[in-house]
Amino acid sequence: MNKRLYANTGVLARHIARQDRVRLVIWVAAFLVSTLLVVSAFSTLYSSETERQAMAETMENPAMIAMVGPGYGLDNYTVGAMLAHQMLLLTAVVVGVMNILLVARHTRGEEEDGRLELVRALPAGRLSSLASTLVVYTGANLVLALLIAVGLVAFNVESIDVEGSLLYGAALGVTGIFFAALTAVFAQLSESGRGTIGLGMAVLLLAYMVRAIGDVSSEALALVSPFGWIVRTETYVNNLWWPVVATLTAAVVLAVLAFYLNAIRDMDAGFLPSKAGKKQASRLLVHPVGLAVRLQRTGIISWAIAMFVLGASYGSVLGDLESFFADNEMMQQLLTPVSGVSLTEQFLSMLMAVLAMISTIPALLFMLKLKGEESKGRAAHLLERAVSRTRLMGSYLVLALVGGWIMLSLAALGLGVAGNAVMEDSISLGRFYESAMAYLPAMWVMLALAVLLIGLAPSLTVVAWLYLVYSFIVVYMGGLFQFDEWVTKLSPFGHIPELPVEEVSWLALSVLTGIAVVVLVAGFAGYRRRDIQGG
């Protein structure tokens, strides 16, 4: 290996660590605290064995398997087993997201913004930037692994032993390292930071879905996905270490590939072709909505495909779910039957909530792009050219509203089409669509919040994401943690009637819509008044 290719990696690594120290501390602390909160919730809420066994029973449900992975140790479902079975995968997904975002920023992001050019003109090796990023993030993931392990052991719960805790931490850590290495490869392929993040997220989502389908129907398929490995550690029950070794090996292979690609390419170049642009703006582009659409075209198309596939992969589980309910008497007793509504349909509303919240991610992205354009100084160009602020913000809002609606529709459609293909008693597509559309007002509230933040406090737009994460936790896992009702009601998604089980509550829907309108108006007013950055 040529030492000169890595010259000054140490200095750059310290530079990265320094820049990210606050960000990393927040992320790691968030992982640690949320994991420990879950342990504490589980050990108080499910303190008796009967309660835990009742929950274990529901874990055989294919929808649950698709969500959290195959059950293990269900005949003696300890708090440790519960934690690892229900939380490890979800936490690993978020660790993956963290690594994608941060590694993309230090690799391709740095290059795209022209800062790498300054570094490369100094006596730093061609591969030093990549090497230092991977060194720092490998370190960060190891620290995360260790802190989680130590935290879990220190919590002193009987079934949470030392080896299991080490494995739990290690599983998260290696997943993080895997996604760091994967992102490093994508940073060589794509020519932009956004593209790198997009590829990373797409693969993460795909890995999750492949595992979901695989876990329900074919283990061989699940083993294609790194998440499929991680859920097979059977932490706190059998403590299998092979998935950790396998993930780490895959990460090393990816890292080597990334280094190789980096070594043979020009600075600023990527291996994926970037299309030549048009010479003239099409008529659409001249309108601000057209411009907003054009700027995010790739994102819109990728999300549309992803939402349909996501809906379809959930839908593909519905057949197994149906037969599971038919065979399982206990489940039939547990879910009180509602007349005219099948057990499968009862599950639909929960799936819809999840799909609606995921559809809100692209809608928020489309809206918040306005802020991104502003901080890059490009919004100022438009505003100077006689596009009023209301119109500019309105264009992004229109895109976000229409985009969110399309995403949700596609997800519902995917769910319906795939579901009906595998179920014996089919449910009409209209019914799927109806229960999805009921979530639109909640999505509007989220978008209105984003508009308000852009209008009044543009530096705080992360609050919109935190609110979505909060909604996800309380709605998705509210039942698990037995939150009080008001906790759920703090999220707009907690107010949506669960169609088709519940009646349509026009009152709740109109109130949400009303709130969205009021907040929107305030956001627009704020945006008209404040200073615009850049230009």
Partner: protein, 295 residues
Amino acid sequence: MSVLETKNLKKHFGKVKALDGVDIDVREGEVFGFIGPNGAGKSTTLRVLLGMLKATEGEATIFGKDAWSDAVELHKRIAYVPGDVNLWPNLTGGEVIDLFVKLRGVKRSERREELIRRFQLDPSKKSRTYSKGNRQKVALVAAFSSDADLYILDEPTSGLDPLMERVFQECVMEAKAEGKSVLLSSHILSEVERLCDRVAIIRDGRIIESGSLADLRHLTRTQLLLQTKQHVPDLGEQPGVHHLEEKDGALVFQVDTEKLDDVMRYVSGFGIVKIESTPPTLEDLFMRHYEGVEG
């Protein structure tokens, strides 16, 4: 002696031939100007020389070493300033300069403080608050406070005000006085004219002209204004005379530099009352080349 040399340097981006056989050489202790229209290939040449792009064909050597494979060694002796400087938004200017010093593996010099003062830079501000010119100053301070032997500067003054532009020119002169070499790409021709010993003009990825300013001037025309006692017949027909006009009783015309002697002999016979000559500026030279190719 050449410190920097390219031979038949080619760089293709897919079908685009950004460089199509570039030959330049920068000698020790000289300031070498590199000029040409937008998209001509200046930045591409410099990036190949800095080992950021791999040449498709040809050679690029600095201090006798290969620009691509020996980049790390070479960069210890080179300072680079790009035209568009982007810094880490949450670091102060001073921190950025220190980072560069650390990457060079040298000690902080007192030159740093002196340059910060001369460029009137506030090093305690976060980079995100700097204007374009101030970001450029950070890179300039870092470059000139390093003890480099070769400066590669790509439109380094595109954001500076005239006062700072002068400070920059002083810095280049000082570097030259210390025997350092400078490769300066610029669109500001007066700056090139004032600083450079030799220049190369690049167009469409090829060097179309190079040499000392005196050599290049030779290739162009001198503008003359002439008043004589007697009428000068057939002046327009003399070889080397162009664009003859009469203005307020005086003759205004251009003469090819190599024909200047003949023309002066010819007109001296008619009793010169007044003669004014304007030397060709680099701009004239530049314009002539551009127009020549476009026409």
